[in-house]
């Protein structure tokens, strides 16, 4: 970070290899759009480079990193306009099936995320990226801690059933 703060961008590669995928997942959970997630991750690393001087080395890196990411996300939400799609370019039903059959990682991620509700995804983000306890998440979302636990567990099961099973406790 000290090197970044002095204007050298070489350490970005190291940061990207350590935190890049997890950051993309952070944006995937929020946006459900793999392309947007990649753009937002790029923008976050750009901001990390620009704001490296504001990082205090005595403080932990992760909360600062995800605060920058959260700000990038909020700015993106403000910029985003509702998509306007002319009727004639809407895909036919057959094209939708074709798209569903795609096996790319993006499509897989999309399909997985479509199985989760907005609240489930928010719970995952708050738990994993913000490190909140269940009762804190409950307070934030207006749910009971038990409901948060149930939703979180169901979300984990959905991810496990649909994705490659390599997780362990």
């Amino acid at each position: 970070m000290t090197l970044l703060g002095s204007g050298h961008d070489e350490p970005l590669g190291v940061l990207m290899s350590r935190h890049g995928d997890e950051l993309v997942r952070f944006f995937l959970l929020r946006s459900r759009d793999p392309h947007a997630a990649q753009d937002l991750a790029n923008e976050t690393f750009f901001r990390i480079f620009s704001k490296a001087r504001t990082f205090e080395p005595k403080k932990p890196f992760r909360p600062w990193f995800y605060t920058v990411a959260l700000n990038v996300w909020r700015a993106w939400q403000r910029r985003r306009k509702p998509p306007e799609v002319p009727l004639q370019v809407l895909p036919e039903a057959a094209e939708e099936e074709q798209a569903a059959a795609s096996t790319s990682a993006e499509e897989q991620a999309k399909r997985l995320l479509e199985r989760l509700s907005d609240v489930d995804r928010e719970i995952l983000v708050l738990r994993h990226y913000e490190g909140l306890q269940l009762k804190e998440i409950a307070k934030r979302l207006g749910l009971s801690p038990g409901a948060v636990y149930t939703r979180l567990f169901r979300a984990l099961e959905k991810l496990r059933e649909a994705g490659p099973n390599d997780e362990s406790v």
Binding site: L12, M16, P34, A75, L124, P145
Partner: protein, 326 residues
Amino acid sequence: MDLSCNDVRNLLEPGGSALPLSDERAEQVAEHLDRCPDCDQRLSRRVAGALAALPVGAGPSLPAVRDLIRREQRRSTLLRLVGLAAAGLALAGTGWTLLRVPPGGSAASKDRVAPPIDTVIPEPPKLAELPELERNIIRSEGVVALYLQFCLTCINNPTDQDKQEFLTRALLIFREVRGRIRSEFEKSAPAPTTEAVTLNALNDAIRILSTSKLASVNFLPSKITGFKFPTPDSMQVDHILGNKTWRLTIPTLPPHLNFAYLKTALGANDALMARIEESLWTSVYVRLPARLEDKDPTVGPRSLEAVLPLLSPRQQAVYRKLVGTP
């Protein structure tokens, strides 16, 4: 019944055997997890493991980030060059003014002592002496400008970024609405009352404002139901906020903060007025309704600080008179 760590760890095992849990049981598990750091850590690992299984197609790209950095650097360089060019022009202009011989100037005229500025500065016009159309526009515009600033602070607790964005948008909205104010006064026959035009203008302003809400500025009045000037120095707005109608009574803008009046009093062109507006709008104008109500003594000095650097010496003298500072 209290749960042991073993019970909870069994429930956390992948496989879903733990579901469905009764509400009571789920609350017990959640309570245990919040109390027991070991089990909580297991849950964290479980979540991290599940998320790691989420496939990431293309990750962030170093060349793309470098491209963003390069673009930003180019933009900063360009801005710096523009700034330098502007400073150079200003210096050249000042130098030229100082060095050039006044037309018809002679050695005798050089010896003549120039009259002090304040002896040739006209008194700024009094509002009551201006033509009726101009007077109406000044009053109406002043209300809209002040009310837009009120919207930022009514119940809202904006983040710094949202505050900045709101101010930018609000100034654009103000500029759009003032065009309509002028045309309504000019076109309508018989001449509408200032209060009727102002009421329409306020409704126009909040309608435009509501089309692009900001996350932390979401409490905006939905309609203005009435407007009047109960006294020459105060304005009264009846507006619907939430489901209730509220009445806001605040002092009107002092002349030295009224853009339409300043344009006339300073004889400023559009470019200078745009700079004055931007400078005041993002400084003295912020929380101005409350400041005026509290008779905040810093309003005058802060106005001088924001406006004087933009003015010529003659205009500076006029503006000082308006603020009431020697």
